[in-house]
Amino acid sequence: MKILVLVKETFDTETKIVLENSKKINNEGIKYIINPYDEFAIEEALRIREKFGGEVVIYSVGRRESEVTLRNGLALGADKAKLIVSEKIDSITVSKLLAENITKEEFEIILSGWIAIDDNNAQVPARLSQLLDIPLVNVVTKIDFSDDKIICHREGDNTVEIIKVSPPAMIAVQRGINEPRYPTVKNILQAKKKQIDLIISENNEDINRINITYQLPEVKKAGLIIDGSKPEKAVNILIQKLKEAKVL
C-alpha cells in the first residue's frame, strides 16, 4: 500500500515570533517542528505499513530549509520525502502545488493532520481532495481496513460516525488516533541517508494573486488583583470595575 503523508513545518509552540515587517517573520531563533497533527498522520501511516507493507512518502510544501524538519519524519520511519519549495504557504497555493505533483503519483491513501497549529486553517485536506477528485474523511480518530475498504471513525460528543471509503482517499486525522512513537536511534542515524526530493514550484499567476500580511496579537494586559482583606470594600471595587468594563 502506498501512503502519502502531508506534513507541514510549523513553529514550535514555545517559539516567540518576531516580525521583520508585515510580510515577513524573522527566522532567527525560531525552532521548527512537524505540525503535531501531522505527526499523528505519520504514525498512522507507519502502523498501516507495518500491517500491510508498502511505502510511506512524506509530501510537504514550504521553505527549502524545512528539509531539516522533514528529516525528523524520515527518522520516525517514513521511506522518503518530497519537498515542494515555495515561498507562499497559504492553503490555496499549497493545495494547488500538492495537487499538481500528487496527480503524477499512484497511491492508496493520503493522510494528514486535520489542522495545522500555526494558522489553524484546516483547509488543505478539503481543497486538495477536491482538486484530486477523491473522497475526504475529516477529523478521523480511528482507521480500520475491511474488504478493500477504509473504515474511518469520527467521534462526536455522544456518537461515533463510521464511514467506509474506497481508496484512493484522503483522510485527515484528529488527536487521539494514536500515540506517536519516538524515533529509534537507528532510524535517526539512517534518516540522513534517505532521499528528499526537492521540487521547485513554478511561478504561477494564480498563486501570485494571494497576499498575506502578518501582525502580532495585542499583548494581554495584566490581571487586576483586588485586596480581599475587607470583603465589603472589595465587592464594591469589583462592581465598579465590572461596570467600567460594561460587564454589568
Partner: protein, 378 residues
C-alpha cells in the same frame, strides 16, 4: 551546541522527549522507594539506547560515542539512576566485549546486550581493592574446560538485574597486575550469587550489590582477552566508562540548573521573583558557564574516542571537571531554592545527593588527577 552534526541534534531531540515523558515522571519515586527502573530499561531497549555505539551487525544502532554520551547526559538531567544504568551497561559491559571479545563472544553476548535483550554489569572493586584495583583477591583457577572463580566483588552497579557480568579475577598471583584476567559471567552460572544490596546516599534507584563466587564454574571460552590481560581490559574499559560518568555528572548539573531557573522565576521574595536579584543572576551565570565548559570537555573526550585517538587523559579531565562542577552546581541549586531546596519536595536535593557519586565511582577525582598529572609530568 552549534558544532553538533544534524544527526546528533536529532538524537538529542529524541533523548529529550524520551526523558521528559518516560524518565522524569519516575525519578522521584525511584529515589524514594530505592526501586530499580525495570520498566524504563525495557523502553531504553525498544528505542535503541542500549546499543547506541555498536555496529548494526552486532545488534547495535550504528552510532558513535558522542551519540551515546549525549544519551547518558539527557537521561541524567532528570534521573541520574537511569543514566548510570545505561552507562554501566554500555561502557562497562558491552564495550569491553566489543573491544576484546572473540567473534563467538560478540555473537553470543554483545548482540543480545546491544539489542537490549540482556542487561550488563562489571565487577572489579573488592572490599580491599578500590582505588588500588591491583589488590584483587578473587581467584580463577583453570580446571579442565572451566575456570573456577572464588571470592567476592562489591559496589557492583546493575547487580541483580544484569544478565551478563564482566568480572576480574587473579589467574596467577605471582605476576601482580599481569596475573589478572577478565571473564564473562552469566547470572545463572553455578556458584554465582548476588549478595548484600547497598543502601546509598544517592542514585538510589540503581542497584548496587555484592557479587559472590563460590566455586563458580565459568567455561574457559568465556575468558575475555588473553589470560593475564585482565588489568588492561579493566583499565581501558574504565577509560571509556569515565566519559559515560562525566556525561552523567554533566546531565545532573544541567538538570539542577534547569530546575533552578524555573524556581527562581516563580519564587517571590521582597515583592519580586528572586530571579530579579543580582545574586541569583550571577550564581546562575557561573553555574551555566561551568556546565558548558564541562560539556566541551566531555564531548571532546567522546570525539577523540570516535576518531580513534588517545582519550585516556581527556576522559579523566572530563570526569574530574564534570563531577566537581556537578557537586558545586547542585549545591548552589539547593542554596538558591532556600529551605524548599532542602526538602524532598523539590528535585535539587536528590540531584545534590546523586552528584556526589560522580566524584567517587569509576575512579575517584583523585585517581583522575593522578592520570592527568602523570601525563603532564611524563
Amino acid at each position: 551546541m552549534d558544532f553538533l552534526a544534524k544527526e546528533h541534534i536529532m538524537l538529542q531531540k529524541m533523548y529529550r522527549e524520551f526523558t521528559e515523558n518516560e524518565v522524569k515522571p519516575l525519578a522521584h519515586e525511584l529515589d524514594e522507594q530505592e526501586r530499580f527502573p525495570v520498566e524504563t530499561v525495557g523502553k531504553l531497549a525498544k528505542y535503541g539506547f542500549l546499543g547506541i555505539p555498536f555496529p548494526k551487525e552486532y545488534g547495535g544502532q550504528g552510532g558513535d560515542s558522542l551519540g551515546y554520551t549525549m544519551a547518558v547526559e539527557e537521561l541524567s538531567k532528570a534521573c541520574a539512576t537511569t543514566g548510570v544504568v545505561l552507562s554501566a551497561h554500555v561502557s562497562l559491559c558491552a564495550a569491553p566485549i566489543y573491544e576484546y571479545g572473540t567473534e563467538e563472544q560478540k555473537q553470543k553476548y554483545l548482540v543480545p546486550l546491544a539489542k537490549g535483550e540482556k542487561l550488563g554489569a562489571f565487577g572489579l572493586t573488592e572490599p580491599n581493592a578500590g582505588t588500588d584495583a591491583a589488590g584483587q583477591q578473587t581467584t580463577a583457577e583453570l580446571d579442565g574446560d572451566y575456570y573456577i572463580l572464588n571470592g567476592s566483588k562489591i559496589f557492583i552497579t546493575n547487580a541483580g538485574y544484569a544478565d551478563i557480568y564482566i568480572v576480574m579475577a587473579i589467574t596467577d598471583k605471582s605476576k601482580g597486575t599481569k596475573g589478572i584476567s577478565a571473564f564473562i559471567v552469566e547470572k545463572y552460572f553455578p556458584g554465582f550469587g548476588i549478595g548484600k544490596k547497598e543502601a546509598k546516599m544517592g542514585i538510589r534507584g540503581s542497584s548496587t550489590c555484592e557479587l559472590i563466587f563460590e566455586n563458580c564454574k565459568v567455561p574457559k571460552e568465556n575468558l575475555l582477552g588473553k589470560e593475564g590481560k585482565g588489568f588492561t581490559v579493566a583499565m581501558k574499559t574504565l577509560d571509556g566508562g569515565r566519559i559515560g560518568i562525566a556525561a552523567q555528572a554533566l546531565g545532573i548539573a544541567q538538570g539542577a540548573i534547569n530546575e533552578t531557573v524555573t524556581y527562581v522565576k516563580e519564587r517571590r521574595q521582597f515583592g519580586r521573583p528572586i530571579a530579579k536579584f543580582q545574586n541569583t543572576q550571577f550564581q546562575l551565570a557561573d553555574m551555566q558557564t561551568k556546565v558548558d565548559a564541562a560539556r566541551l570537555l566531555v564531548y571532546r573526550a567522546a570525539r577523540l574516542k570516535d576518531s580513534k585517538q588517545p582519550y585516556t587523559v581527556a576522559a579523566a579531565q572530563a570526569k574530574l571537571f564534570a563531577a566537581e562542577v556537578a557537586m558545586e552546581v547542585t549545591t548552589k541549586a539547593v542554596q538558591l531554592h532556600g529551605g524548599y531546596g532542602y526538602t524532598r519536595e523539590y528535585p535539587v536535593e536528590r540531584m545534590m545527593r546523586d552528584a556526589k557519586i560522580t566524584e567517587i565511582y569509576e575512579g575517584t577525582s583523585e585517581v583522575q588527577k593522578m592520570v592527568i598529572a602523570a601525563n603532564i609530568l611524563k
